[in-house]
Every structure is written in structure tokens, then in C-alpha cells.
Amino acid sequence: MRMRLWSALVVASMATGCANYHAVSDFAGETSGMTAVVKSEFVELDTLCVEQVQTVIVVNNLGTDRALDQCDRYRRSQARFAAVTVDVLDQYAGALTGLANDKTFDLSPDIKAVGTKARAFKETSFSPPISDAEVTAVTRIADLLVTVLAAEKREEAVKQMLAAAPDLEVMGRSLKTFFVGSPTLPNIKPAYANFIDLITASTTSTLASLDSKPMRTAEPIRTAELARDLRARQRLLDQRAPSAPDSVPIKIAADIDAWLAALDRFKVDGMKVDAREIADRLQTLREATSAAKDAVAGH
């Protein structure tokens, strides 16, 4: 009878706003899965740029690596803002995982500087424009993570993480805009599409140089090697052509859409009573009660 009363009290307390740690854990996994895909594509973009420019330097005998600076400049601008966005989302996922498992979590040492960085990108990048809402969302989530790291009450921290859902949605849409543009900016070509187009144009022109008679005659083996590498790079670029229906950016956009749908579910389920959660808590409670009884009884 006493245990029934305990159970009723626990269930009643959970129904009035306890965190659903299974939902928290699920959404953490969905977030880190999405950010892993995006981060991996950023690495690919860097590699495509650097390798293509290195080939251009060799084929055209430029005599300096200065041309490589363009990849750095690109990385620092629009792509870098998207990279900051995805880094913050990644750390949000790590914090959720920590809360779900009741473990401490780490934040990147530069998380506190995210707001300054985000505002600096707004000052220098414009295609498509970075909105105030995007800068604010990234900054607020970074600030929230610092707050949550210091929070003493786990459930209160989850509530705060849930309350940040509108900012997460802004960040997800911002990332999607980088890859496929936005219906609200129909005349602005996505930064990703411009980048892929220009690298593709560069590979096509470099291949024309390597296929030219003077180059093949002067350096037959080297030109054949470089042309083979370029054709492999062209295949990677073809997979990223914005017009292809099953291209990499379209798939990434679909992944971000799936994550946004998961965010909608998380908003509903994050503080909803979960039978598994209740069972876990009751088990913990029974064990604690039993241990207390044993202690009182001197066992």
C-alpha cells in the first residue's frame, strides 16, 4: 500500500513537467548525426578547393602558392559562418547527451567568443545575407550552453534547452540556406552552388590545358597523372552539382529537414511523461528505499 502511494506521488510529480530523458537522448543523437554530415561536407569543400588550386598552380607554373589564399578567404566568410553554426549545434547535442545521461559535458574553450565571431561574419559576409536572427540565434545558443554547463538542476537545464527550440530552428534553416538557398531569397544563388560551380569551372579549364597537344607532348606522363586526378575530382563535383536531383546538397537539405522534424517532436516530447522514464525512476526509488530500510534496520 505504501509503495502504491509512493508510485502515485512520483507519477503525479512527473506529469507536472519532468524531463523525458529518452526524448532528450534521442534528439541529441539526431542532432549530432546531422552535424556530423554537415561537418564532413565542409571538410570535403576545403579539400576540393585546396587540391584544385594546387593543380592549377602546378599546371600553369604559377611559381607561388598565393592562389591558395582564395580557399582560406572562402573558408573565413560565408562557409565559416555555417561552420560556426554547426559547431554550436554540435556542442548543443553534446550538452543534451550529458543531461540525458546525467554526466558532465565539455564545451569548446572558444564557445564564449561565438557571439563576437558571429557578429563579425555579419559585417563581412553577404551572399546570401546573414540575418540578425541568425546571428542572434547562434549567440544565444552558445550563451545558453555556458549557462547550462553551470546549472545545478538537471531538469531545469533540460527546460532551458527546450526553450531554445526557436533559435535551433533558425540555425537549421540557416544551414539549409547555405546548401540549397531559401524560398524567401529566390534570386540569391546559394553560396554552396556558387562555390561548386566555380571549382567545377576551374577543373574543366585545367583539364583543357592538360588535354592540349603542347602539354601532352612536353610532359606526357605527368599530364596523364594530373588529368586522372582531375577526372576523379570532377566526379566528386558532379555529385555536388546543384541541379542534380539526388545531389549531395539536396540530400543534406533533406537531412536538415528531418532534423527540423525531430526538433518539432522534441518540443512536444521533451517534457512529456514517458513510461520508460517512470519505470526507471520507480526502480531507482525502490532501490533507494530498500537501501534506506536496510540502513535503518542495520543490515
Binding site: 607554373n61 553577404f126 566555380l198 583543357a208 588535354d211
Partner: protein
């Protein structure tokens, strides 16, 4: 962009963005692409590499424009994105009709110089670079 009528004077609040200059990005890319045909006809390695370098410069300039935000200097000519896009498209069309690849890469170099001036936001330099470009078209 060699204006027929005097341009307004920039107040310091005018900005050119990469999104406004998409037509210029496309014109630079098309100019580079158009040189592929000259590579196919080149008879020596030096010519192939000179044309390849011009293409690399055009593509690099186009990539730099994608994320550009250019603040026009106050007190100088107020140059609009429409002016710049028109200049880039006119240059692309003129270069495409040139028969000699040497003339093409000279003009391509002036086109890159023009955009280097554009990125300074200095109206006087932009107009001067536009006249220098026009001279070789």
C-alpha cells in the same frame, strides 16, 4: 562601366554585396570558360600556361565576389551594382569576339584589375579601371 552621365557622389552608406554582383560572377566565370577554346588551339606550353593563368585569375576573382561586401567610399563616385554588372557583361561579350588569345588575356587581366578596383569601394579608382578596361575591348 564608362558612364555617359556624371555619377552621384557616394554618401558612405552605399554597399555592394556579392548577391548584387551575381551577374558579374557569372560573367567572370563565362569569360574564363570561353578561353578553353583558345587552349585547344594553342601551339606551345607557354601559351597554354598564360591562358590557364588568366583563367585562374578570373575564377579567383569570381570566388572572391561571392561573399563580398563592398562599402563605397564617401565623397567618391557612387557606382551601382547595375553599372558593374553591365561592365562585366560587356567585357565578356567583347572578349568572346576577339580572335587573338593574347588580346583576350590582356583584356581578361584588365577585367580582373577592374574588379580589384571594385573591391576597394573607391569610386574614382573604379571609374578609372573601367576606362582602362574599355580601352582594351
Amino acid at each position: 562601366m564608362t558612364p555617359d552621365a556624371p555619377l552621384d557622389v557616394a554618401t558612405g552608406s552605399e554597399t555592394l554585396s556579392g548577391a548584387d554582383l551575381q551577374a558579374s560572377i557569372d560573367a567572370l566565370k563565362a569569360t574564363a570558360k570561353g578561353l578553353d577554346a583558345d587552349i585547344a588551339k594553342a601551339t606551345d606550353v607557354d601559351a597554354v600556361q598564360a591562358i590557364g593563368k588568366a583563367q585562374a585569375d578570373l575564377n579567383e576573382q569570381a570566388l572572391d565576389l561571392v561573399d563580398a561586401q563592398i562599402d563605397l567610399l564617401a565623397g567618391q563616385a557612387s557606382v551601382s551594382a547595375a553599372h558593374i554588372n553591365a561592365a562585366a557583361q560587356a567585357a565578356q561579350a567583347a572578349i568572346a569576339t576577339m580572335a587573338d588569345w593574347r588580346k583576350k588575356i590582356t583584356a581578361a587581366g584588365k577585367l580582373v584589375d577592374f574588379f580589384a578596383a571594385v573591391t576597394t569601394g573607391n569610386g574614382a579608382q573604379i571609374v578609372a579601371a573601367a576606362y582602362a578596361l574599355k580601352d582594351v575591348l
